[in-house]
């Protein structure tokens, strides 16, 4: 990102519109009849207006000592360091010229930076009103009567008056600098914002194009492979199942009871093998391409009800009670509805599987109790959760972190008794993480388990990220 105008050092001459500033100074000088100079921080002259001092100063310049002392004063008022920390008295500094004239200096401070200085003078301080002693000492080099005559043309004023005029002028300069700075920033920042927006859109476009090309290539390769494997595995299995069904239906003649029992077992195992293959294919697909989300606005009630329906037959068989409780605080969310539904189904199927007859399974939906670390301190406001709780056999504490691993079974005897290959939870984990969410488990062996899905209500950055 390019450096912004906000980071740049300000220069007086670039800030002020010189013709109009010169006009303002001229009005001031005409009104108060006092000389005025403005220098920027580099010592460049911005304005120099003399009033009636020209003849006197030219005369002083004629003598060698006069010239030397005069130059000293002029240099001093131009370069003498000024206090750049704002004081209540406005930071005015004083310089007396050897001739008895006087200059006042004030820094131009803006946002704590020294932008330049204003010099008022020369004027003849009322309280002195005469030639300076240093000048009087140069009698011989100068005709003092002529000097007095010339100096009397210069404005006489009490220093306090000049100070007041000067403070007033400094305030005007401050306002001018401020308004110019404001105008400059407005126009410049407008350009910067537009440029930055353009850059952002451009960059995003490029990223999207690149990503798409990579994905297309990957997906071409993997899909071919998966399609082949899927076909090779499913086709023979479909035949096994199909022919078993035909035999059972008596299409090849009557069977005795023992034969029927054997066939039923073949059918059942064949079907569970088919499910296993589907799960493995799901997982390989996830690994091959990552999870492809199709996000839409979905109703959480719809998702949960449809998931409950799909496990209803098995839970009826075991006489389990299914309940759900949805908070009105989150009703619709932007997620991949099918995948979220599959997550809930997987959790529910596990609960049904591991909860003894007569048990209870509950689904609670509402705002998230806490969100992933990366979501920041306001995270829980952007997330919702779905918790599935049962009072089944539970999972021992040391095994809990492992349940999301592919092919993990809390207890291999459990898998024999309850069936399944431990793929459901790792699919849940992949889907939830693809959404930028988290799945956690809380459980106590013998008492039951709670699996909680925490997902963002909307994908991160929705609405405010772009331009």
């Amino acid at each position: 990102m390019a450096e912004s105008i906000l980071q740049k050092q300000l220069v007086l001459g670039e800030l002020l519109d010189l013709p109009s500033f010169t006009n303002v100074c001229k009005t001031f000088v005409d009104l108060y009849k006092i000389g005025l100079k403005v220098f920027d921080q580099q010592g460049t002259k911005v304005v120099d207006m003399k009033v009636a001092s020209g003849d006197f100063c030219a005369y002083m310049f004629e003598g060698p000592n006069g010239r030397r002392l005069c130059t000293e004063t002029v240099t001093h008022i131009k370069v003498r360091p000024l206090d750049n920390l704002p004081r209540e008295d406005g930071n005015i500094a004083v310089r007396n010229c050897f001739s008895g004239l006087r200059y006042l200096m004030i820094p131009i401070l803006y946002e704590g930076d020294l932008l330049g200085r204003i010099i008022f003078g020369p004027f003849l301080p009322d309280e002195i009103g005469d030639l300076g002693d240093d000048l009087k000492a140069l009698e011989g080099e100068f005709d003092l009567r002529k000097a007095k005559e010339l100096i009397d043309r210069i404005r006489r004023a009490p220093e306090t008056t000049v100070r007041r005029i000067m403070e007033h002028f400094a305030r005007i300069v401050d306002v001018l600098v401020f308004t110019s700075h404001r105008a400059m920033i407005s126009s410049q920042l407008h350009i910067e914002s537009v440029t930055e927006s353009y850059r952002e859109v451009h960059e995003k476009n490029k990223k999207l194009t690149d990503a798409m090309e990579r994905l297309q290539e990957l997906s071409r390769l993997k899909s071919n492979f998966l399609a082949t494997v899927s076909h090779e595995l499913r086709t023979p299995l479909t035949s096994v199942i199909g022919y078993s069904e035909m035999l059972l239906a008596g299409l090849a003649g009557d069977l005795n009871d023992e034969q029927k029992d054997y066939l039923k077992t073949i059918l059942e195992k064949g079907e569970s093998l088919l499910r296993l293959i589907s799960s493995i294919l799901d997982l390989s697909r996830i690994e091959a391409r990552g999870v492809q989300l199709v996000r839409k606005l979905v109703s959480l009630d719809d998702v949960v009800q449809s998931a409950l329906e799909s496990v209803l037959p098995q839970s009826l068989k075991k006489n389990l009670t299914l309940t759900s409780n949805l908070s009105p605080a989150v009703q619709t969310v932007t997620v991949d509805g099918d995948k979220l539904r599959q997550c809930v189904v997987n959790l529910l199927s596990n609960s049904v599987k591991f909860t003894p007859a007569g048990g209870v399974i509950r689904v609670d939906v509402g705002p998230a109790d806490h969100a992933p670390e990366a979501a920041g301190p306001f995270g829980s406001s952007g997330y919702f959760q779905i918790a599935v709780t049962d009072n089944g056999i539970g999972i021992a504490e040391d095994l809990q972190p492992k349940v999301f691993e592919t092919f993990f079974q809390a207890d291999s005897s459990a898998s024999r008794e309850y069936g399944g290959a431990g793929l459901g939870l790792s699919i849940v984990k992949s889907y939830v993480e693809a959404h930028g969410g988290e799945v956690t488990v809380k459980s106590e062996a013998g008492k039951g388990s709670t699996f909680t899905l925490v997902l963002p209500i909307e994908p991160a950055g929705t609405g405010i990220a772009l331009v």
């Binding site: 990102m1 700075h181 609405g463 772009l466």
Partner: protein
Amino acid sequence: MQFNTGQRELTLKIVYYGPGLSGKTTNLRALYQRVQPHLRGHLMTLDTADDRTLFFDTLPLVFRAGNLKVKLKLFTVPGQVMHNSTRRIVLQGADAIAFIADSQPSKRQENYKYWLNMVENLKANGLSIETLPNVVQWNKKDLGDATTVDAIAKMRLEGKQPVYEAMAVRGEGVVETFLGLVDLTFGQIDKHYLLSDKLGLDRRQFVEEVRRCLVDLPTDDVAGTN
């Protein structure tokens, strides 16, 4: 941050970030009221006719702490959705963040979204919220409800950053937020640049100096009058 050792000059940029209408500009205005006139610069606001910030607001504060000249440059970002690139520009070179959240229950998700948006915009500037001093202010506490109280309590419990409550329209909580952030920021810089050692200026003294830039509220303060 700019630290000019030769001139003993420290410049810090403090950015007020947060969702639209959460009260960032109001915070700066309230602070402006409290700064001694000769120490503050102009409060520059660049806004539209309906008072929404267009580019940013800025308020410079210049003072002496020990023998160090300190310039604090306070900025607000524009909260409206469409000004994201301006928000990113204003964040350039930020040294500290005051996140102004809106206490209204209906704004809960906005706070969350703008936090993430800030994290992203910081990243684009090569900055990270993990290392930048930051505080959260829950403004408009007059418009919060019981769920707001819960959310604030939870955030305090997490303890990731100092959390303040405020009613910026009445100037309440504004100074506390600001000084809290100044405190945190100085602590951080001190760690890197060992200012305490180099300048004989410790964290508490620094905060005291900043506090001294502020004028006390008149005794019959706004809260007391009806």
